[in-house]
Each structure stands twice: as C-alpha cells, then as structure tokens.
C-alpha cells in the first residue's frame, strides 16, 4: 500500500461572485520513503497542493472534491482532533523562508520542547533530550546552547536546519518541503539539500519537494510531477523527465535553463505568462504559449496518456515525437 495516494483532488477558491478552480483533478501516489518533486511556475498550484495534503487551506480556499488517503485514512474527512494528531506528528512541513517560520519571541528550546510535549506524553527533561538528539542529527554544533537562543540570534542556514529538526522531531512518515532553500544562498542551499536527502534516506521518510528549481529536483527526487495551471501535465521518473521531457511545457522549462544556452545568447524562455485562475483558456491550458497547438488543443482538455516511460497530458505528444524523429533522421 502506498503511503499517500491522492485521487482527483479539486481545490477551489470562493471569490466574491464566482469560484475559481485552483487544482483540477490532481491524482498521484507516493510510496513509503519515496521522494517526489513537484515543479512548475509560480501560480501553478504547487503550494496549494502541499497545503491541501495537510488539509490546511484557509478561507477562501477549500477542497471541493477528491480523496487524500494517508496511510489509508482520508485526510479530507478528518475532524480537527485527528488532523491535529496528523499534523506535525505523522506529516510535517518545511516552509520557504526560515527567517519568518520560527516564532521570534520563543527560544529554539521552547519551540521544540513544546512541539514534543503537545504530541507525546513526555516530561520536560525527556523532551529536551530528544530535541538535543534531533539538533545533532542536523549537524547543529553545541545544541545545548542553541536551545537557549532566540531565532534572531542564528543565521539563515542554521535556522533552516533547526526547522528541519523540528519537522523530524516526531518522526513523521512524510515531509512536505515547500521551496525549502529559495531564501538561502547557493552554498547553504546545497548543504541543506544534502542534509535533507541524507535524513530522508536514513529514516525512510517520504518527501514531497515543491520547487521551481529543476536542478534540485533532479538531485533529490525519484519521481517528478510537472504542474501547470492547476493540473498535472507530466509525471514520471525524474531521470526520464529531465532527460527526455514529453510535454512541450516541460521541454520549455528545461530549455530555459541557463545551462542550455551558450554564453552571450538570450535564454530560451517560454513566451507569455501562466494564465490567471479566472482566465484559464479552454482546452489545454498551455495552448496559447505552445508552438505545437492545434484546433483540438484549443477545444478539448487533453487526457493523461502513457507515452514511453512517463504519463503526459498532451494531444500532440505523438506528432511531436514523429516530427522530432523526422528531424533527427534528416540530420
């Protein structure tokens, strides 16, 4: 049985006089200890997916339909008490900006000990010992002293380590990391990613990594979902998706990487912007920006089909490939 399985998840936002669909029929599975990447532009629905998995959406967002089965239980149907038991305990989340994620007026120790004591029947001293062990695991030097410090006394990298330690505090089955390194500089980014990879592998913790950094995804994850305008448009093994993307959007993303361009040339960006939630075009949401778009693309939403090693939602994936094959043959 998979750890997490999401079926036809639809999330809507109630606006003043209409509801807009932020997530449209998302389905995916995550095995125990598996690492999954979710990529896409800003506004594609990545973070919303992360929040829905914990049933943390607040007004005006709500889960309209679908199931989120976590260890066989439907998160969508859970009452507040069961949800509180789930959050932090079996599922943890790491946010983007470590500067604002920790409570500024409580010491690191207070925050960690309080978290432990809220979920487990522990004495203060036992909780303190666990906190120290967890801080050691994330390579924090002299953890006893850190417990007495306030967040503002620590650097960004240090804080993100502490946030990871807090996420791991109760040995969750799944960690959702929402752009965990975006706010950090590049060298610390690499450290943190390595640390997360190591911890996930050694503790058999599942990881959902939400990011727009394809480099990070290829380094960290086994499988990848590509999202666009609230839908999954391509899913499969990370290696396949990075090396041989099928959907024109994924291809565009990969081509837009600076490594794909010679120095001095312009970056190959995807023309246009992601459509707003109120103005998603009919048919394939990507069609206005897609150079392969046909009338079919403009009128009907593509089904997800298996193509090669991956699943992809594109009408033209067949033609696209035969074109490529022809081009290759000509060359």
């Amino acid at each position: 049985m998979s750890l997490l399985s999401v079926r036809d998840l639809t999330v809507k936002f109630a606006m003043r006089d209409e509801t807009v669909t932020a997530l449209n029929g998302i389905s995916f599975d995550l095995a125990k200890g598996e690492r999954l990447g979710i990529v896409g532009e800003s506004g594609a629905g990545k973070s919303i997916t992360g929040f829905s998995l914990m049933n943390l959406l607040s007004r005006p967002g709500f889960i309209d339909s679908g199931k989120i089965l976590f260890e066989g239980e439907d998160v969508v149907q859970m009452n507040d008490k069961r949800l509180r038991n789930l959050r932090g305990n079996r599922m943890a989340m790491i946010f983007q900006d470590p500067m604002v994620t920790l409570n500024p007026v409580l010491t690191i120790g207070q925050q960690m000990i309080e978290t432990l004591m809220a979920h487990r029947k522990l004495s203060r001293e036992e909780a303190r010992q666990i906190a120290i062990v967890k801080l050691r695991e994330v390579y924090i030097p002299s953890p006893e002293e850190r417990l007495e410090q306030y967040p503002h006394e620590l650097s960004g990298g240090m804080r993100q380590r502490i946030i990871i330690a807090i996420a791991l505090l109760l040995d969750p089955q799944l960690i959702i990391a929402d752009e965990p390194t975006t706010a950090l500089d590049v060298t610390i980014q690499a450290d943190i990613m390595e640390l997360m990879l190591e911890l996930c592998q050694s503790n058999q913790v599942g990881l959902i990594l939400i990011t727009h950094d394809l480099g990070v995804v290829s380094q960290m994850t086994e499988r990848t979902l590509v999202m666009y305008a609230g839908r999954i448009i391509e899913a499969g093994r990370t290696r396949e998706i990075i090396n041989d993307p099928q959907h024109p959007y994924t291809q565009g993303l990969i081509n837009a990487l600076p490594q794909q361009t010679l120095p001095g040339q312009r970056l190959k960006q995807i023309p246009g912007n992601m459509p707003g939630l109120t103005s998603i075009p009919t048919g394939c949401a990507f069609n206005p920006r897609c150079k392969y778009a046909t009338d079919l693309c403009r009128s009907r939403v593509p089904e997800i089909v298996h193509y090669g090693e991956v699943e992809v939602a594109c009408h033209e994936v067949q033609r696209l490939h035969s074109d490529e094959d022809r081009q290759e043959a000509r060359a």
Partner: protein
C-alpha cells in the same frame, strides 16, 4: 578587559540582561523617563506602604478629632507641628489621608486596567484570529461601547447601583464597583489594538508552521500570537492606567465613587472643594497636585515606551 568577561560561560542575570537591552539603554539615556520612573516609584512605594508611613490612620474614627479640622500646612502660620500638610474638614491629617487615598487610586487604576486588559485581549484575540462574522459582531459591540463615553456609562451605572443597593452597601463595595465599571467601559481600546496586531501577526509564517505542527487554535492564540503582540499592549496599559486614575477621580469628585470615610484622591479633592473659598485651599490643592503628578509621570512613561517599542503598531 579581563579573561573572565570574555568567557562565554558567565551567564548574565535577568536583571543585567534587562539593563543592557535596547530598552534599558534608551531608558538610561532619557532623563525624562528616569525622572518619571523615580517619581512614580516614590509615589507608588509611599502609597503601598501607607499603613507604615502614615502617622495617623484616616479610616479610624477614633483617631480623628473634629476640633483639629482645617489646620493649614506646616509652612503657613497658624499650623500645628504634628500635621505637616495640615488637616481636612473632618480633622484628618492630610498627609496620611493622601497616602491612603493614593493607594486607593492606584489600586483602582491598576485593577481596572487589568480587567480591561483581560476582557479586551481575549475579545481582540478571538476576533482577530477567528475572523468572519464573529469578528464583525465583536467589533460592532466595541464600536457601540465606544460611542458611549466612559464617564457617561460609569455615572449611569454607579448612580443606578447606588440607588439600588442604598448608600451604605454601595460605600462598602465602592472599590469593586469602580473597578468593574471602569474596567468594562474601556475594553474596546484593548480589543481594537489587539485585533489589529493579531490580523498582522496571523498572516506570518510562524503561525502557519505552528498549525502545521498540529497545535490547536487556543494554543496558537495564547502562546504564539499573543507574545508577539505584547508591545502595543504595554503602551496602552500605561496610558490606560493614567486614564483609569483620572476616571476614578472624576467619579469620586462627582460623589459617585469612594465615600468621604474612605477617600481616594478624587473624593479628597471634592471634599476640600467646599472649603476652597473659606481659605482652606490645601485640602483641594495638595491632593490635586499629587494626582496631576501621578498621572503626568505615568503618561510620560507611556510616551517613552511608545517611542521605544514599535511605534508603527500603536493605534491609540
């Protein structure tokens, strides 16, 4: 510099931490704040030690001799040496009576503010955190409360209770009534400020991360949001203590507060008011000066605090 000061092991005490903090530093650099604090502490300590300091007990009818009434202060001719600030119309030693009266005024002021703070902070937290209809309902209640002036509400309430319970019962519980009415009348000040800060704080990610860690709403409100909203609360509290003391004095002056047998500063001023044209100015003037100084130093401290703590959050 000695080695000892460099070693990281020496843990600074709580007091020296506070003294060396930003607030401690700005306090030392601000002569107005230092003087205000000194005066306030002097008054407060003298007031709370009144039974030890005061030469007479103004509540004890046995120690009062009506024949001693209206002696002037020691520096005016015709005074008696044992009454340094003179006596009032009933022959009570003014110095002792002021000490006891200040104690009452401070007590009522601080307790009323504690009540206001309790009501206002709870309501503000709930309104800000829960939001939606409940928020609108609570804030409209606050608006309605604010549209009546504090004194008007207090006068009506106290006049009605006085009539209902009779003067004797009323006088016995006057302290409680005053605290209740001043406390209830001013809660919206707190509720509005706390709500505004909570609205700003609850959008911050540490609140999300607390929810992600599975904390309940009660714990998030009290343990996570409230400590982050404390600085405006401190600022309002000082200002409100001064306001509450003034309100109490006004009500007592109008005869709706402390009875003449247990005078607060307000009732003392009021009782002397009848004699001011017969030459006994000191019965009104001296307690008046004490009241003004007390309120002034509290307000000056509040001003200083507002400047030190985040001034953007203060909406008084």
């Amino acid at each position: 510099m000695s080695i000892e000061t460099l070693s990281p092991k020496s843990e600074p005490s709580r007091w020296s931490k506070a003294w060396n903090s930003n607030m401690g530093y700005s306090f030392r650099r601000n002569p107005v704040a230092v003087v205000s604090m000194a005066v306030f502490l002097l008054i407060a300590v003298a007031a709370f030690l009144a039974p030890l300091i005061a030469p007479y007990d103004p509540y004890d009818p046995g120690s009062i001799d009506i024949m001693n009434s209206e002696y002037p202060p020691a520096w005016v001719s015709g005074s008696l040496p044992e009454f340094k600030l003179g006596t009032d119309d009933q022959g009570r030693d003014l110095w002792s009576t002021i000490l006891y009266g200040t104690r009452l005024s401070l007590l009522i002021g601080i307790c009323a503010v504690a009540l206001q703070a309790f009501l206002g902070i709870s309501i503000g937290l709930i309104a800000g955190y829960v939001g939606g209809r409940l928020d609108s309902l609570l804030m409209r209640m606050a608006d309605i409360q604010l549209s009546f002036s504090t004194l008007m509400v207090a006068i009506i309430f106290l006049a009605v209770t006085q009539a209902m319970f009779g003067t004797d019962t009323f006088n016995r519980y006057a302290v409680v009534f005053l605290i209740a009415v001043i406390g209830v009348a001013e809660w919206p000040q707190y509720a509005r400020t706390v709500r505004a800060t909570v609205l700003a704080e609850k959008k911050k990610e540490y609140v999300d991360s607390a929810r992600v860690l599975g904390f309940g709403p009660m714990r998030i409100m009290v343990r996570h949001i409230l400590p982050n909203s404390l600085s405006p609360i401190f600022v309002i509290s000082t200002v409100q203590v001064a306001n509450a003391i003034i309100s109490e004095a006004s009500l007592s002056f109008l005869g709706l507060g402390m009875p003449p047998s247990q005078p607060s500063l307000g009732s003392l001023i009021s009782s002397g008011f009848d004699y001011i044209f017969s030459g006994s100015w000191w019965i009104t003037a001296i307690p008046g000066v004490v009241l003004v100084v007390l309120v002034l130093v509290i307000n000056l401290l509040g001003d200083w605090m507002r400047d030190v703590l985040n001034p953007k959050l203060y909406k008084g």
